[in-house]
Amino acid sequence: MSNRSRLRLIVMRVLVVSVLATLLGRLWFLQVYAGETYTQAAMDNRVRSVVEPARRGQIYDSSGVPLVVNRNAMVVSVNKSLLRQEKDRGKAVLARLSAVVNLPVDEIIRLTTGCGARLPDGTLAKSPNCWNGSPYQPVPVKAYTAEDPAQMKVVLAIEEHREDFPGVTAELQPVRDYPDKTLAAHLLGYLGPISDAERKQPQYANALNTAKVGRSGVEETYDAALRGIDGKQQLVVDKDGNVTSQQSAVPPKAGDALVLSLDKGVQKLAEDALQRWIMNARGTYDRVSGKNYLAPSGSVVVMEAQTGRIAAMASYPSYDPSIFSKPITQKTYDALVDQKNGAPLYSNATQGTFPPGSTFKLVSTVAAAAAGNSLNGSFSCPPSLMLGNQKFGNFEGEAFGTIDMRTTLVKSCDTVYYKLAYNEWQRDGGLSTKGPAREIFPATAREFGFGTPTGVDLPSDSAGSIVSRASKIANYKRYKDDYCAGAKNPTYDAYRRAIDAENCVDGALYKGGEAALFAIGQGDVNSTPLQLASAYAALANGGTLYAPRVAKALLSADGTKVTPIPPAVKSKLSTPPGVLDYIRSALQGVTLPGGTAQAAYAGFPHNIVPVAGKTGTADIQGKQPVSWFASFAPANAPRYVVVAMVTQGGTGGTTAAPITREIYDGMYGLEGKAALLKNGELPSALPVVRPDGTLGPPGTKTGRPAPTVVMPASPSPVPSPSGQGSSASGPLPAAEPARRTSVQPRT
């Protein structure tokens, strides 16, 4: 063998060794060094998750009558990512779909555009008229109920011509149904697709990107419990997607049934009474404005005085939440938030803030007593009072001479309260505050829950507003520039310019006139009907302020577990019981001859159910007065607080008080009405889950052992329901409370 051959064989050996070393090194890198990455990749490769959605819990009233149920609907959806793969990016498909579902192409594009993304015309898509869910999910564009005759036609058109509709599906999906349409809509809420941002929040930790979550009402507050836990199967598949084995399977856990303290009968009664008297007001001539009362909106709250539970909560106008079970059109949504229609989407009970007028004298009376005035003393009730250089008058210039506190309340004499509040303002140093002011009136208002959210288990819960020296300064800092600009704004009327000019100079000062108006629930005092009901419940039950509760219990779908939602005590009043006793007793006179609500309660069987209450007629500049009546009954042993409110509805005695009378009649079965409540009580026992999963009235036999009672982990006095101040709630109808200024009150 030549040397050359020998050398080349040696070179071959070297090559072979290095080639083998290369392979071994690479093998080590893949398997040992980077093995874990590939183990994960192998998992992703062959494990598919299949989701079995959990059935959402239904919602029932306190007797087990369903208020929100599940129903299947035929939903037509568009998968945008599939559509985009078309040559014309789906234009032809959308045109065909538009003809089938009878929706303009623009509307379909708008519905399927992600919220915040740009529409073809360059504008931004705004919630909720855009797709709020994950961009990879099919977007529903139209839904048909089972009864809809168009349903079959649409399904056939789409499913029989799959090739014409790539990316379009028509399938049955569970949707929420509201058997009573608009009944209690604001309290129940509706569902909407979850957004990607929400999925990162802890309360939505186990929600899928296809999930629909509560967007309002108890649907939102109790979303996690109602939603249940979706089932998940981890399937091992081969490369063709054939299932070869099941790695794990978690069955779906159906959502809990939610039982409300609401009574459907009382709710209906309240809504009907509210609507009837709103219609009545609209037919009543208002001498002051020279036209009929507009009465665009109103609210009623029926609360259990001893627990803070809500028996009924009405807001007029209402809407049918089932419109959110389908894709909603822009026109429909615009109508829901239009102030001209009374903004049906907003709850006047929890979001609407209005000056409470004379119903606020509850707070003022307690404050006056706390300031050292004897309730047994006598008070002068002149037709008007000069405070500083300003004249403050009674409603229609009434005068009752020297009267006791009881008569002051019954007749609702404003001048007595002006004087009491003005005295206190002077004691605090008047305009030149030296040292810490006592500010008993604002402090008492705060104690009764005004100026802070009630803590109700609903996502929208307005704080309202009260005025104090501190709030004046804070507001001045915030709005000074607006005030000064407003003083020169030619579009404002002379009155508003004058007010702004004054505020521009000394808006930070807490003036005597403001203190006086505060005492009669005017000026910049604003309250929701629910806040007022909580305050009156505290009066009625002897000093416990409750965070109102709409929900009573969660029942597991199989009926084995009960999670009660206990009443939530927010705080205890520091008011001496004697003062509350006095006021309760005095307010009985309001519905009796001589009281401000005597006309509304004329002929009422006071001997059976004595009703105590306080009227309120609150002025808002440029509008007709807000009509209020805050009441409780039976007056001697209060069980219910009923608050009624109608905006631009006239005096408290003419519009709001008759609503409460109708409600008491119906609840107790008075004046020829059938009693909705047995012994005047709401059921204390919970409905039971029947073996078929539906709910039966309390006491239904199930053949099962009694369910386990699970106490909530930490019963905080004011729980923070999920999604407090949700963005979906939108702006409040009552804007800029701090800027509102009242004229001469009328109550």
Binding site: M1, S2, R4, S5, R6, R8, L9, V11, M12, R13, L15, V16, V17, V19, L20, T22, L23, L24, R26, L27, W28, L30, Q31, V32, A34, G35, T37, Y38, T39, A41, A42, N45, R46, V236, V237, D238, K239, D240, N242, T244
Partner: protein, 398 residues
């Protein structure tokens, strides 16, 4: 009568006609004693492991199809047995007559390759490389052509004049002309992988033959130029894609990069010790196409882990090492060149095949010797082993 006498190192059967079968078998000069047993055992171990891997790779698919899950396993073993018989023939046939057979083997392979291109040929997996026979047999003539050019080249280059230690230019040109015919025919199929194997066989044989550097260097340069300039114009689209996708398999996981991506996942997820034979999830899920043939190493990687995969690489290394040892110890040029050709063949094919499953070489469609399922390849590989043994049995240091 002149008694030429029987050579001392002739087999016992020639020296003593009355020797028993057992005596013959155990005789120092018997073929069994003169076999390279290390090489033999390494090959048998690779065949054994290969049959299990082929079994595992095809088991689930056969079960799904309702067929005998062991059918590929059995066929692989049958192929091996036939191949071993062919190897015995190749190892026992007289050296000198082998040279006489070389033109026949060469001519037969060229005819086979022409037959492939005729209507007799069949296309499987994009390559027109097979002749399908009745009863489910398929012949891939390119595999036999590898044996043919190894023997053919060795024959021509070993025919040297006494004064010459190295081949003359004219010998090299004759060799190149000889291999150009089968390579050209294979290129027409097209079976790029086999052509590349042949280029490496030519390189290895020429290098060891002592051909001038200019030929060796020139061939390497020509190969690189051909790959860079000509290939993109001549190659089919799918071939270019396969070549480029290995660099970035994630670019198109469902297209050309799919194989390499899935192969890497299977091997990487095997870890150090593997998931156990028949336990590979990627294998059972049939995520890797062609797994029992070109991608059989992924089964080893996934189910037997680094330990099993490494063992296979070391066994292949043993085969190559013994081959080079046989080349070094060969008593004549022919034997040395045959051994060098076989080593070049196996070395290139092993490196490209395992390298492709590991994502460091392009996907070329070359089987892994002894492990990949396939009759023609198994027969050709074992015939080549038989040739190595033949050379070994006649080397001087025994």
């Amino acid at each position: 009568m002149t008694d030429w006498g029987t050579p001392r190192n002739a087999p016992l059967s020639l020296r003593r006609r009355d020797a028993s079968l057992r005596e013959r078998a155990l005789d120092r000069e018997s073929p069994l004693r003169r076999l390279d047993w290390v090489l033999m055992l390494a090959v048998l171990a690779l065949i054994g492991i290969g049959s299990l891997l082929v079994w595992s790779a095809t088991r689930q698919r056969m079960i799904n199809a309702g067929l005998d899950p062991q059918s590929f396993f059995k066929k692989h073993l049958i192929n091996a047995v036939i191949g071993l018989a062919l190897a015995s023939v190749a190892s026992l046939v007289d050296y000198r007559s082998l040279r006489a057979y070389a033109p026949i083997v060469y001519g037969a392979s060229c005819l086979g390759l022409i037959a492939v291109l005729s209507p007799l040929g069949s296309t499987i997996n994009g390559a027109h490389s097979w002749i399908v026979l009745p009863a489910g047999f398929q012949i891939q003539p390119a595999e036999y052509a590898k044996v043919a050019i190894v023997v053919g080249m060795a024959m021509i280059l070993a025919e040297k004049r006494d004064a010459e230690d190295t081949p003359r230019d004219v010998d090299v040109l004759v060799v190149l002309g000889l291999v150009a015919i089968p390579m050209g025919l294979i290129m027409l199929q097209p079976d790029l992988g086999s052509v590349m194997v042949m280029v490496f066989i030519v390189l290895g044989v020429l290098a060891v033959s002592g051909a001038p550097k200019r030929w060796v260097g020139g061939l390497i340069l020509a190969g690189v130029l051909a790959a860079g300039v000509v290939a993109p114009h001549v190659l089919q689209d799918y071939q270019v894609k396969r070549f480029t996708s290995f660099a970035n398999p994630k670019a198109d996981p469902s297209g050309a990069g799919y194989n390499t991506q899935q192969a890497r996942i299977a091997i990487g997820s095997g870890g150090a010790l593997g998931k156990g034979l028949f336990q590979g999830t990627q294998t059972n899920g049939r995520f890797i196409p062609e797994q029992q043939t070109d991608f059989v190493f992924t089964v080893a990687g996934e189910e037997l882990g680094f330990v099993g995969g490494g063992a296979i690489i070391l066994l292949l290394g043993t085969v190559l090492w013994r081959g080079l040892r046989i080349a070094t110890l060969a008593t004549d040029s022919f034997g040395r060149l045959v051994a060098a050709g076989v080593v070049s063949w196996f070395a290139f094919q092993s490196f490209v095949n395992v390298g492709m499953t590991l994502g460091i070489m392009p996907v070329t469609g070359l089987p892994l010797p002894f492990l990949s399922y396939g009759g023609s390849a198994m027969f050709a590989n074992l015939m080549a082993i038989g040739l190595l043994q033949n050379v070994h049995m006649r080397s001087r240091e025994l």
